[in-house]
């Protein structure tokens, strides 16, 4: 099972990204996904987490992820040392940041710049979804196009697809 932990602030769309990822993975037969937010009252700007679990068989464990394969930060003000203790041994962190990081566990990009350029807003959820698809083999660019078409309002679709695919290309070029 691949477990993905999303970190964001209320209003940044972390749960939407967690849900889109699960839906994208489960587009194909024989694949299963669970996606859920940290439950409870929500406030704009407050730190929130969201969870996606992906597997080749039905997933029984509905509890929150304690150790992730990937931990994705939509907002680097939420990132700190504690992030490493929430990772499995080969786990990776995917970070939206303006800074440069040398740590091999950290994959970073300036998602905000991509979001501002393509969406005209600093909403980075679909950008980070695209970036994730570049570090995880199970999601193709076609899956991203399809899942956004199926799950987002029509007027948001093309821009979000463009933003997600731009982030995917940016990470693949770095590799």
């Amino acid at each position: 099972m691949t477990e993905i932990l999303w970190h964001g602030r209320g209003g940044q769309g972390a749960f939407t990204a967690a849900r889109l990822l699960g839906a994208a993975y489960a587009l194909h037969e024989g694949r299963y996904a669970l996606a859920f937010p940290s439950f409870g009252p929500e406030r704009r700007g407050a730190p929130i987490r969201a969870f996606t679990k992906l597997d080749a068989r039905p997933i029984g464990d509905r509890s929150e992820i304690e150790k992730a394969d990937f931990s994705i930060f939509l907002d680097d003000t939420l990132f700190g040392e504690q992030a490493f203790s929430q990772l499995k041994p080969n786990g990776k962190i995917l970070l939206n940041t303006k800074r440069h990081w040398e740590d091999p566990k950290i994959v970073f990009l300036n998602a905000e710049a991509i979001a501002l350029e393509i969406l005209g807003l600093s909403i980075t959820n679909t950008v980070m979804l695209g970036a994730f698809s570049a570090v995880f083999d199970g999601i193709t660019s076609d899956d991203i196009v399809e899942v956004i078409h199926e799950n987002m309002p029509k007027k948001l679709q093309e821009k979000n697809i463009a933003a997600a695919l731009a982030a995917r290309r940016a990470i693949l070029q770095e590799k």
Partner: protein
Amino acid sequence: MARKFLSGNEAFAEGIRLSKPQVISAYPITPQTIVVEKLSEMVENGSLKAEFIHVESEHSALSCAMGASAVGARAFTATSSQGLLYMAECLTYAAGGRFPIVMMNANRSTALPWNIYGDQRDSLSQLDCGWIQVYAKDAQEALDLALMSYYVAEHREVSTPFMVNLDGFVLTHTYETVDVPTEEQANRFLPAFESDHKLDLDHPCNLAFSAGPEHNSAFKYKEHVGILKAKGVVAQAEEKFAEIFGREYTGLTENYRIKDAEYVLVTLGSIFGLAKETVDRLRERGQKAGLIRIRYMRPFPAEEIAEAVRNAKAVAVLEKDISFGYEGTVYTNVNSALQKAGISLPTVNFIGGLGGKNISGEDIEEIFEELKEGYRGVKFMGIGGDGQWRR
């Protein structure tokens, strides 16, 4: 059939859309709200042709559904927790009036302390009010139960209201892959609701009347028989369901690796998935663990449970509930089933998940471990047993 990625609430709303209720009356409450929102959207966009009635409370929601049912309309409502409790007066009215209303309840803790998270104290506290009660394990079963609930509730021999329970948040708010049937399939499965007992100017009859000491017992006996007959109708519904939709269900319980099991866990709701994974892990280590999921709490699967544990060494009951001053209600029911079948086994009641507290795979392993001790009684998980700390 369409493969979709839906939450438990959304999947259930799809099931209700396919069941085509004519009247929906509901009041929103966390964590049920999304069901009501989705249905009102469906009514608004025309994909569900129903009268959506905005009511001022849960008491009114169920009263309204009864009024609709009394004229022969298919009625739906949904609630949770304090909403269900506020509705309690009407629960026995609907059952005694034999109105086959379907209600979805998002299982949530009851106040005080105030808490919006999932446990099963709300619905289990209303076990005696005359409703059929079923507990879903995942979003697919939730959708399927929406369709099956009307089939069973409206059956002439049953004519009993039907409560479908979904664990709050862990089921209602978790997204997973769900097959959404076509309308054509749903129409083939679910006949139109027809009742001889309705408010009809051409054929007047008396409904929702009073009955004094002389006749009261007979009415209550008939109510009891109606809910008992649901058992056979559930089997009939599931057979037809499997033919049309290709998914099989197993009646009042679902067993897992039970055949040669020495230690058996009995539980209900969405914890089943995790319990199955835990049983697999224990089996790999050579431990003979088995599992029973109670699907229906009413009618209660007494024979099914007794038969399944006859050769076991001990039985654990895990429930998100406590009847204060005694034990968990599910445990009481399970013990009664064993006693009637002449089975005398050590049984232990594990009270867990109250107010949404997470139950982990390790917690479930611990249950199987403690079951070997031969203890009989109640344990609050992570706290202790029968008023004292044991560990």
